[in-house]
Amino acid sequence: MAEYQENLGAIDDASGGEYERTPVPKSKLKGWKSFLGMYAGEHAAGTEFMIGPLFLAAGASLQDLIFGLLLGNILAILTWRYIVAPIAVSSKLTLYYQLEKIAGKNLVKIYNVVNGILFCFLAGAMITVSATAVGIPFNVSFSVPDSIFGLSSGAFSMIVVVVGLVMTAVAAAGYNTVSKFANIAAPWMIIVFAVCGISALSQMEVDSWNSLLTEWDKGINVVQSINGKVDFGFWKIVIFSWLCNAAMHFGMADLTIMRFAKDTRAGWGPSIGMFLGHYMAWICASFMLAAQIKLTGDISANPGAMAWSVVGWTGIICVIVAGWTTANPTIYRAGLAFQSLFPVKSKAYSGVILAGIVATAAGIFPSLSGKLLDFVGLYGAILGPMGGVIFVNHYLAKKMNFTQDYADKKETGFNTTVLLAWLIPVALGLYFIFAQGLFPAYAVIPSWLASCVLYVVIMKFKKS
């Protein structure tokens, strides 16, 4: 995934940090095919090792998984193509500058910090993933406690701290090297994901579609005999796979990438990456858990142990690399978001260090990574609605006769209309998620639409 994404840095680097406050010039624009390659590496990341097995652990049937992911990924690609790409190609601005023009500098700072905190939890989950692999050679077991803030063994927590600190130190030194390493590792990682799935099939002694279904159903029965019956049906899979990257498409974070596009065909860019990472990799990773359940009866999604079991040392390296190349840029980006909290004279890496410490602290609690399906939905539900404001500002402001790029035109640093249009849907969404037990991904589209409507209504009411 999502999760994202980590190789985004590649295009930021390619721009050398330029054009952050100006439209990208024609000479720097890229054809749509360059986006295919870039997104291909981006969606095969450490999170895939965690998310794939969670489908089986949640009780999803194999047929629902195969067809649900297919439809969900197609919907996600269409969202990039028809919601993000037209705005990115037309304005050629980063998300942050676009948002600054509408919401004002100070509100963007708040958005950045919220984004940074969510990034830290994502990075924390990836530190946990890497630690599961690092622990294998040292025979350190990994258990997921029942309570969200429960700890695993002391030795595992120590490994998390060491892995987290190393990642933080590397991120603080700048992430160019990691970004280059991620590009080198991406094709290898995709192939290893595929072989993990093939080898898991072999471990399950699958020789036909029917025998695969039987083994899958046995796996679900074992999980449900321990965890109780849960339901993760077709439409839940569709919605999850469509919206797990909602912050990037509905939330418009990928404006920052697609502003380099020559035309709107760049919106098709995520297609190969989505089907490699959010289809093939998720399904292969889920096979690893099915194989583990068959061999050991262990239902915990432990990426390190599963990869070790199916492909040995290559699997261990793959889990560490996948976790590292995902966590590192995430810590770096969270650090940039936090930097605004520090005095101007403070060291450039202060924000990264803070982000690394928060991410490492989050990584110590393995249940957080076990809740990744909920977390990525929550991520989209919180950041997605801001994309609704951008959408309305782009398409409806002139037609409905209210001020486009309000903060820029009125020279204000804080547009309260944007704050209300963002916070009210998010608060309602969070209420339904935490108080009513709504699956977080379900909150994304209602929040996004509510944000659009609220922004129009308040702007018209204010006669802005």
Partner: protein, 56 residues
């Protein structure tokens, strides 16, 4: 560079992907598969940075 590119291509296609498929088909022992995959991995990371850097 062409040779390096060829070596890294073969390392993941033959030593990782094909070996995985052969193991699934029962033509290769699991321990042999794991060893060959590790060799493929090492080859990939030794050779790829050179031609990728050149391409950039």
């Amino acid at each position: 560079m062409k040779i390096l590119k060829l070596v890294s291509g073969l390392s993941i296609v033959v030593l990782i992907l094909l070996v995985g498929i052969f193991s699934f088909l029962g033509k290769i022992e699991v321990t042999t598969m794991k060893m060959l995959m590790l060799i493929g991995t090492l080859l990939w990371f030794v050779t790829t940075p050179f031609w990728m850097k050149e391409q950039e």
